[in-house]
Every structure is written in structure tokens, then in C-alpha cells.
């Protein structure tokens, strides 16, 4: 067995994947973080309070993890969904009844979306409580607020996609607010809905915003958000 393990670890394939042995010393642990494209998002060392659960409650990390979970489950759902008012509702029923793990994945997508709105909001409250928006972190706070808006908008646009009564009337009520805009009530309603009421044009607009436009915007904002954490001196200190 040990011969097999050694053969694998000394193979060209393994050594091309992992440049160093399993990190056990300070040096190799530092290298493991620096040499990995995903891990190098983190600094090699972090402040002690940053790893305390009761300091951050992991709310930012959980929000990001939920974003990833929503991306994975969302991509799976996209295989079986057509954004047409004649097919959307039936596709949701098919996903729930006939697609392998479809019901579970749809439920996960729905509950993760609600949970993400909640965790992003709580993350913002935690950051405020610790005064972590203060210089030099003020720009990152602004990025965070934009991320909160993106999260709400992603959730709102996804709300219409099942094309059932809940979705239709929730979006009708939600988008009606835009039609109260002074001087441009018709135009603002038209831009949002693609027409004078929620219909096929609205569904395709919301679908594109939900699966492409806003995930992309959110991803870019997330990159800037994480980058600024590093550049602004890491996570802020306790009150």
C-alpha cells in the first residue's frame, strides 16, 4: 500500500498538480497558500481574532459560499428550464417531478437565495458594529452596499422565473413601484418590464439579469471586495 502511495506521489501527474508535499511546516504552509490560485486570496497569516467564530460569525464567508452554492445549483436548473411563459411553469414541475435530484436542487436554490439575503444583511450589521467601514475601509463598505443591492436584485429577478401565481403577482407589485417615477412613469415601467405589464418580455429580461448580468456584476464586485480587504490591511480589529 505504501508503495502505491509513494508511486502516486512521485508520479509526473501528481507532481505537476502539487508543487510541494503536504504542508506540515510553517514554510510549506505559507507556500501552500501562496502557490494555490484559490487559496492565495488569503494572506499567508491572518490576525488571531479573524479566525474567532464569535468575531465575524463567518457571515461574509457564508454569504460567499451561498453565492457559490447558488451558482452550482442554478447551472443545474438551467439545463431544464426555458424562459418562455408557455414552458417555464411546466419546466419547474418537470424539474420537481422528473429530473434526477431536481426537486432537492430547486429547493436548495430557493432556500439558499433567501438565506443569502439574510446573511449579507447580517454581515453588513456586523461590519457596522465593529466600525469596520472606517478609513481606510470606506470604499470597501460602499462596495459591500452595492453587493447587498446585487443580492437583492438577483433574488428579485429569480423570483419571477417559476412563472406561478406567487411569482407573477409579487413581481407585478414589486415593479409597480418603478411606475411611480415622476415624469417617466411609463418609460421606467417599460424599461423594467419590457412592456406595460409582466409578460414574456419581462420573463426574458429577468432571466438574463438573473443568470448572466447580475451574477457577473456580483462576481466582479466580490473580487474587488476581497482584494480591498487585503489592500486595506486585512480584517479590522475589535471595537
Amino acid at each position: 500500500m505504501s508503495f502505491l502511495v509513494r508511486a502516486v506521489r512521485e508520479s509526473a501527474l501528481w507532481r505537476s498538480l502539487f508543487r510541494q508535499p503536504y504542508p506540515t511546516t510553517s514554510r510549506t504552509r505559507a507556500l501552500a497558500v501562496m502557490n494555490n490560485v484559490f487559496l492565495h486570496l488569503h494572506p499567508v497569516r491572518v490576525k488571531t481574532h479573524a479566525v474567532r467564530y464569535t468575531y465575524t460569525f463567518c457571515l461574509g464567508g457564508i454569504s460567499f459560499f451561498l453565492f457559490l452554492a447558488l451558482t452550482v445549483t442554478g447551472v443545474y436548473l438551467m439545463f431544464f428550464y426555458v424562459p418562455s411563459i408557455n414552458r417555464a411553469f411546466q419546466d419547474i414541475q418537470t424539474i420537481s417531478n422528473s429530473v434526477a435530484f431536481g426537486d432537492l436542487i430547486r429547493n436548495m436554490h430557493r432556500w439558499a437565495a433567501h438565506l443569502m439575503v439574510l446573511t449579507v444583511f447580517l454581515h453588513m450589521i456586523r461590519v457596522f458594529y465593529h466600525g469596520a467601514y472606517k478609513p481606510p475601509r470606506e470604499f470597501n463598505w460602499a462596495i459591500g452596499v452595492l453587493l447587498l443591492f446585487s443580492t437583492l436584485w438577483l433574488s428579485f429577478t429569480g423570483y419571477l422565473l417559476p412563472w406561478d401565481q406567487i411569482a407573477f403577482w409579487a413581481i407585478t407589485v414589486g415593479t409597480q413601484m418603478a411606475t411611480y417615477a415622476p415624469l417617466a412613469s411609463t418609460e421606467s415601467g417599460f424599461i423594467l418590464l419590457g412592456g406595460i405589464e409582466v409578460g414574456q418580455e419581462t420573463l426574458i429580461r429577468f432571466y438574463v439579469m438573473h443568470v448572466i448580468a447580475f451574477p457577473l456584476i456580483a462576481a466582479i464586485l466580490l473580487v474587488v471586495h476581497f482584494w480591498r480587504i487585503r489592500k486595506d490591511g486585512g480584517i479590522s480589529g475589535p471595537v
Binding site: 491572518v46 479566525v51 459560499f65 411553469f89 432556500w111 466600525g131 463598505w141
Partner: protein
Amino acid sequence: MTIEKRPNATADKTAPSQAPQVPTIERGGGPKLPGPPGVPGTERFRLLAYVKQESMVRVDKRPDETVLTWPHLLRAEFLMASLITMLLVITSFFIQAPLEEMANAGNTPHVAKAPWYFLGLQEMLSYFNATVVGVLFPPLYFIGLMAIAYIDRSPYKAARDRKLVWIFFLCLMVGGLLVTFIGSFFRGPGWNWVWPWEGLFFTL
């Protein structure tokens, strides 16, 4: 402060074999240091520099206490990711996402509510002018949140040292939470007041 100076640092990297002899020099009782090979007069030496303090304030900056990301932070992240995954799978296994009948523009339900995070706005529509609440309030809310960081620039973090910002933030949060709560659980058909025990008109 000690500065190590290497004026020709690349020379020994590019052509180490060109140097048969490595000159050394000793200054001020310091250690003997090899200089760049083959370049007389460019020996490595140590220099003691005097740095003038620009501020009268004495900086008392101690190094932060830190831990290695691997394994400390990554362990915490892995644990939380696993917990959230388990929570999601278990919740999704037992609680079904809502799905009513197919959308029908001709069939208006008794209660038409926006998604729960916009119910605060919908609730406020029943109090104030629609233009103010529906159009002006949402951008002002987000701009106000962003502005907090540019208004409160003092270094103090304790609540007693930033009372005004705390009050402003609490008004936004508690006010928002209150109207969302009322819109979610206390409004029924015709947006009339309904106690939760008389009927719950709320869908996630």
C-alpha cells in the same frame, strides 16, 4: 537602523562562475561579507542610518498577533461550508419550495405581496406618497448606507464615540425591520391589518 546595500546585486546571479576570487571587507567590526565578484570597490557593507522622526507623536505600534492561514482559517472555512451545506440539504429535503398554479394575469389573488425583503417598501406605500416611497426612497436608502463611511471618519469604534451614526444606522435597520415585519405578518386582503392568529398571508 542597519541598511544592507548591494549596488550590483545582479552580477553574482548572472555570472557566478566568472569570479575566481571573492573580495571581502570588514567595516565597523561587522561580519565579513562577500561582494559582487570581479567588481572591485563594490563590496557589500553595512551602513548605520539615522532616521529623523517627523511627528512629535510617539507611535506605539506593536506587531499584530497572527496565525497561519493554513490550517487555522481554512479549517474554520471548511467547517462552516460543511455546516451550511448540511443545513441546506436537510432543509431542502424536508421543506418544499412554494409553487402555486400557473401565472394568470386575469386571476388577481386576495393578497398580492412583493418578496419579503421588499415588503417594508410595500408597507410604506400605504403610509406615504407612492413617488417618494417607490422611487426616491430605495436609492436614498442605499446611498445613505454608503455615505455612512464617508461621514463618520473618526477613528473611534465604540458606540458611545459615534452616537449620531449609531442612531442613523439603527433608524435604518430597526425601521426597515419593523415595516418589513408588519408587511409580512400583519397585512392581509386589501392590505388591511390582520393579526397573525387570524390568518398568515406570507410566502417565501
